[in-house]
């Protein structure tokens, strides 16, 4: 087990295209870090550079304090789980898991012990004699994880391991991966484009965009205190609502947000001084759907009533998503399932201004 450090690492392809633009990242020993971002953001390239499968154009990668830029993958003491499993089709499950140990000339007894132990953890002991083609997608992914576990490497690397599975199996395997990490506690770097996977698995999430890190933090930090509009929009499902706004003077020396030039929402006193310097500038108002809910007579400080015309209603069972338009911008609210609402109705909502976000209209930074 070991810590992993990326120091200003750059990946530039032929033709000058930069996939990774100098990122810095320190991953602690036994930590589970998830790299998340949209397609083409450089997350897989970063992982592959840590694995040694991609050459590094610039910067340094350290594993256990040792620079590994020129160390071949087999000498980095890492194990990787691929999206398409990458099992050796002509070998049995046992041989697939034992392959790395055999190459490293481990004694037969030790190989047997390790494979049995990994098979027990992953619940694949009855499958050891089967060939990969005789396994389901979930079983194959377990074998791929088993192949990583038996090596007892310093670092586990996962490259979108659940993307090929159906939705139900994905949730199940997500729990399995978390359980495995709780058992073996190996430093893990996990790449996904699914923010739910990132939030549920990670000790820390690294949100990447266009080859750079947007923000690093715990799932809670990213959810409650996103650093940029990109992170605010990427983390959370359904995504945060964004609307153009201006900060203007409010009643009693306070300030208010004039959203889309249509509704006026007073800023809670605790945030007045923080937002006052942005008065008059083009800003973006952000609010998560869960902070926009059905109106309650007994409000709390910071709760503001907003009346909007319902466009679409999506009952989900435990909650109902209601979609509106405000000045051409779509807005989503999450209301209790028993709330009576239907299209074209004017629905009274509560905007919890204690959870509002304000972003610079030019830079996208959250202020």
């Amino acid at each position: 087990m070991a810590e992993v450090s990326c120091r200003r690492i750059v990946k530039e392809y032929d033709g000058g295209v930069q996939a990774v633009k100098g990122i810095d990242l320190d991953i602690a020993d036994e930590e589970f870090v998830v790299l998340v971002g949209p397609s083409g953001c450089g997350k897989s390239t970063t992982l592959r550079m840590i694995a040694g499968l991609e050459e590094i154009t610039g910067g340094e990668i350290l594993i256990a304090g040792e620079v590994v830029n020129d160390v071949p993958p087999r000498d980095r003491d890492i194990a990787m789980v691929f999206q398409n499993y990458a099992l050796y089709p002509h070998m049995s499950v046992f041989d697939n898991m034992a392959f790395g140990l055999k190459l490293r000339k481990f004694p037969k007894d030790e190989i047997r012990r390790r494979v049995d132990e990994a098979a027990r953890i992953l619940d694949i002991a009855p499958l050891l004699d089967r060939k990969p083609r005789a396994l389901s997608g979930g079983q194959r992914q377990r074998v791929a994880m088993g192949r990583a576990i038996v090596r007892n490497p310093k670092v586990f690397l996962f490259d979108e391991p659940l993307s090929n599975l159906d939705a139900k199996l994905r949730v199940q395997m997500r729990t399995e991966i978390k359980k495995v990490h709780q058992t073996v506690k190996t430093t893990t770097v996990y790449v996904t484009h699914d923010q739910v996977e990132a939030m549920t698995l990670a000790d820390r999430v690294v949100v990447m965009n266009a080859g750079m890190i947007e923000q690093v933090g715990t799932p809670q930090e990213l959810y409650h205190n996103p650093a940029t509009r990109f992170v605010a929009g990427f983390i959370g499902s359904p995504a945060m609502n964004f609307m153009p706004c201006r900060i203007i003077d409010g009643n009693g020396g306070g300030i208010a947000v004039h959203v889309n030039e249509q509704i006026l929402l007073p800023v809670p006193p605790a945030r007045v001084e923080r937002y006052r310097p942005y008065k008059g500038k083009p800003m973006v108002f952000g609010m998560r759907p869960e902070h926009l809910f059905e109106y309650h007579e007994q409000g709390r400080p910071g709760w503001q009533r907003v009346d909007l015309k319902v466009d679409v209603v999506e009952p989900m069972g435990m909650e109902t998503m209601v979609h509106f338009f405000l000045g051409g911008d779509p807005i989503c609210a999450r209301v209790a399932p028993e709330t009576d609402c239907h299209p074209e109705q004017i629905l009274a909502l509560t905007a919890d201004m204690n959870n509002m976000h304000l972003m610079d209209g030019d830079t996208g930074r959250v202020v």
Binding site: G52, R74, H90
Partner: protein
């Protein structure tokens, strides 16, 4: 009015009630008709295919059948003008016995076997290594080289045998089986490499990356992963190399001229045709004996051969 309505409605309801049933009946019968017509069409297609296949089977099996019949006849029966040439009246194995006990024929056979084994071995080692490096190691110019390898296959061997005669003569290998061991791989390697490049390219890249991370070097990846996974392609390439070496006629005809160096294809012609005397029975028996190894190998490996060729064609 009300009664009239009821009277009017009742038949309408009845009709409305019957109509869907009738419609469903029509739909079902149409579906059945369509099914029958589809079934009929399929049967016609099947019979058509069988008829076409039967014509081809007859056309392709006639020459070997004639060869077999003639090989079982004595010289007298062959030259006799009575009876059908397609039937044997007094079958004999004398032609086969003559060849099996004829020292020259044994030499030709052994030469052919030796040259073929060496050609196949050399060609496969070179083409598997070349295909692996060209398809997987991604060095500078590998794409151009891959195309170049295939282009060399497009040059007809019949254009090369005269310049090659000069080269073979210069290195002192004229009238030596070793010149064929040297030359045949030049014919087999490009196509075998091309088949193998296609096959290796169809193996997911993650497989070698997984092996690299598991601790394998490139040679171990080739030996332990690629060769077992690409076995159908390797068998297809092996059969091709075998065919090149076993059936070649032009090169041995041009480069070999003494009996102790000759191979089957040329040996049969030069030994069993003397002037204008054709020993048909022995020629036919020799042809059958010479066809035996390819038939046995093809029969065992046909499935792999077809699968391998397809993969090579689509992925190359």
């Amino acid at each position: 009015m009300g009664a009239a309505s009821i009277v009017t409605l009742a038949p309408a309801g009845a009709v409305a009630g019957r109509a869907p049933g009738a419609a469903m009946g029509t739909v079902a019968s149409r579906a059945a008709n369509r099914k029958t017509s589809l079934h009929r069409q399929r049967q016609w297609a099947l019979w058509g295919s069988y008829a076409a296949l039967a014509v081809f089977v007859v056309m392709f099996l006639m020459p070997p059948f004639y060869t077999l019949m003639t090989s079982l006849k004595s010289s007298a029966e062959i030259s006799s003008e009575t009876g059908s040439p397609w039937l044997v009246h007094h079958p004999t194995l004398e032609n086969f016995w003559y060849l099996i006990t004829y020292p020259n024929f044994q030499t030709y056979y052994l030469n052919s076997v030796m040259i073929t084994i060496l050609t196949v071995s050399i060609s496969m080692v070179i083409s598997v290594l070349a295909a692996f490096s060209l398809s997987r190691m991604g060095f500078w110019g590998s794409n151009v080289l891959s195309t170049g390898v295939f282009l060399t296959y497009l040059v007809p061997p019949s254009l090369l045998f005269i310049p090659l005669f000069q080269i073979v003569g210069a290195i002192g290998l004229i009238n030596s089986v070793w010149c064929l061991v040297l030359l045949y791989p030049t014919l087999a390697v490009p196509f075998c490499t091309w088949i193998m490049i296609g096959y290796f390219s169809s193996i997911p890249k993650e497989l070698d990356e997984a092996a690299l991370i598991d601790g394998a070097n490139y040679m171990q990846i080739l030996m332990k992963i690629f060769i077992p996974v690409a076995m159908p392609g390797i068998i297809a390439a092996t059969i091709f190399a075998f065919t090149v070496a076993w059936g070649a006629f032009l090169y041995p005809l041009a480069y070999l001229y003494t009996s102790n160096q000759m191979v089957l294809t040329v040996g049969i012609i030069s030994d069993l045709i003397r002037g204008d005397v054709f020993q048909w029975g022995k020629i036919m028996a020799a042809c059958l004996l010479a066809s035996l190894p390819p038939i046995v190998i093809y029969a065992f490996l046909m499935d792999y051969y077809v699968a391998g060729l397809t993969a090579g064609a689509t992925k190359g």
